[in-house]
């Protein structure tokens, strides 16, 4: 059953990533250079929608809180984020969108994946050094959510009810998606809103 779900949800994810332009480095470059925020609006709406459905579902008892999987917070998350952001802007791909792009026939995505496999191997080789440096040690409680989610095994950074906060933040993401302009930078020709 899990195998079937992996194929169905994975295929749907790849399909949608291609259709929204996320697997096309041109759309990533437009978003990151702030000249066309159409993809940013898509992503913000997606995070908001996912959040509202998940926390709403939890509050109604329809979604298993135990399916949440919260990653640890540590200084390396920020440093790794900086590295990823630089490489993301340079190549126009992140790990998932490169896989989709390669499936769609983009040859530069294959080059990205080859480099990525080497980069992941380099991390496997250098992991003990990062571990010893303390940069991987938990900060602010490690695996925490912003509020305290009822029934969850994860601690809350605050005592605010986490499901309610999740619903509100989800709504906030949706509002930002709507109010964000189509571009923040560049004067060029007007870009149609698709």
């Amino acid at each position: 059953m899990e195998i079937l779900l992996a194929i169905v949800i994975g295929t749907a994810f790849g399909f949608v990533l291609d259709r929204i332009g996320a697997a096309n480095p041109t759309w990533i470059g437009r978003m990151l250079s702030l000249t066309n925020l159409h993809l940013m609006k898509t992503i913000l709406l997606a995070i908001g929608t996912g959040s509202v459905l998940m926390f709403g579902g939890q509050m109604l008892g329809l979604v298993d809180v135990g399916h949440m999987s919260v990653k640890a917070a540590y200084v390396g998350v920020f440093i790794g984020g900086l590295l990823l952001g630089f490489g993301w802007a340079l190549s126009g791909y992140c790990p998932g969108t490169a896989v989709v792009g390669a499936g769609a026939g983009r040859k530069d995505a294959l080059a990205f994946i080859a480099g990525g496999l080497l980069g992941a191997a380099a991390y496997m080789a250098t992991y003990p050094g990062w571990k010893a440096s303390g940069i991987l040690n938990d900060i602010a409680g490690g695996k925490v959510t912003l509020g305290t989610v009822p029934g969850s095994s994860y601690e809350g950074l605050t005592a605010i009810p986490g499901d309610l906060l999740g619903l509100l933040l989800g709504a906030a993401f949706i509002v930002v998606a709507f109010v964000l302009p189509e571009r923040l930078s560049g004067q060029g020709r007007a870009v149609p809103a698709e």
Binding site: V16, H67, M68, A102, A104, D108, L117, G119
Partner: protein, 183 residues
């Protein structure tokens, strides 16, 4: 052309919701490590070994969290690995249904061509270097755009917000410097 953001965002949000409702939040970058491990273990079978309690590895990273990654290397036909393979299938199906990808786009994206010319060697080299940096960074961070940014912020994970702050702090200035010409 791409889907209108209201439709695209709803569909993408629905996929993220279905994943967490039915199985677990979406993540991708770990599977690059798993594929490396599978290849490495195929060449040198002493990398991952089965024990009474589970799996262990001579590599400290594969061995962490009680050999969680070592186990996936030994059994690559698991949910997370097949999920990522299926993503390529989804990209292929989507492109075929919208009439295929033009030859120029198969070589390099338009925005790159407009700013840096049509050398495929340059483009592939930059994509390779970019891939190296992205996956090194993703593993240091413990996740990528899917796992940290999308799944993480959706679950109100503190780590997701820290990751997104780092990623955009580097990505936006880099892209603004690189792509002076719009396309």
């Amino acid at each position: 052309m791409v889907l209108n953001w209201k439709i695209g965002g709803l569909l993408l949000g629905l996929v993220f919701f279905l994943a967490v409702a039915l199985v677990k939040p979406i993540g991708v970058s770990t599977q690059f490590v798993i594929l490396d491990g599978v290849a490495w273990n195929a060449v040198d079978s002493s990398v991952v070994t089965q024990t009474e309690e589970g799996y262990t590895s001579t590599n400290a990273y594969l061995d962490k969290s009680s050999g969680k990654y070592a186990k996936a290397v030994a059994n690559p036909l698991n949910y997370s690995f097949l999920f990522v393979l299926a993503m390529a299938l989804g990209g292929f199906a989507s492109v075929m249904l919208r009439g295929g990808l033009e030859r120029g786009e198969r070589q390099m994206p338009q925005l790159w061509r407009t700013n840096f010319g049509g050398s495929t060697l340059t483009r592939y080299a930059v994509a390779f270097v970019g891939g190296f940096i992205v996956l090194y960074g993703a593993r240091l961070a413990g996740g990528c755009t899917s796992g940290h940014m999308m799944s993480g912020m959706m679950q109100t994970a503190l780590s997701g917000y820290i990751f997104a702050a780092g990623a955009f702090a580097a990505a936006i200035p880099t892209a603004m410097l690189l792509f002076r010409q719009e396309a």
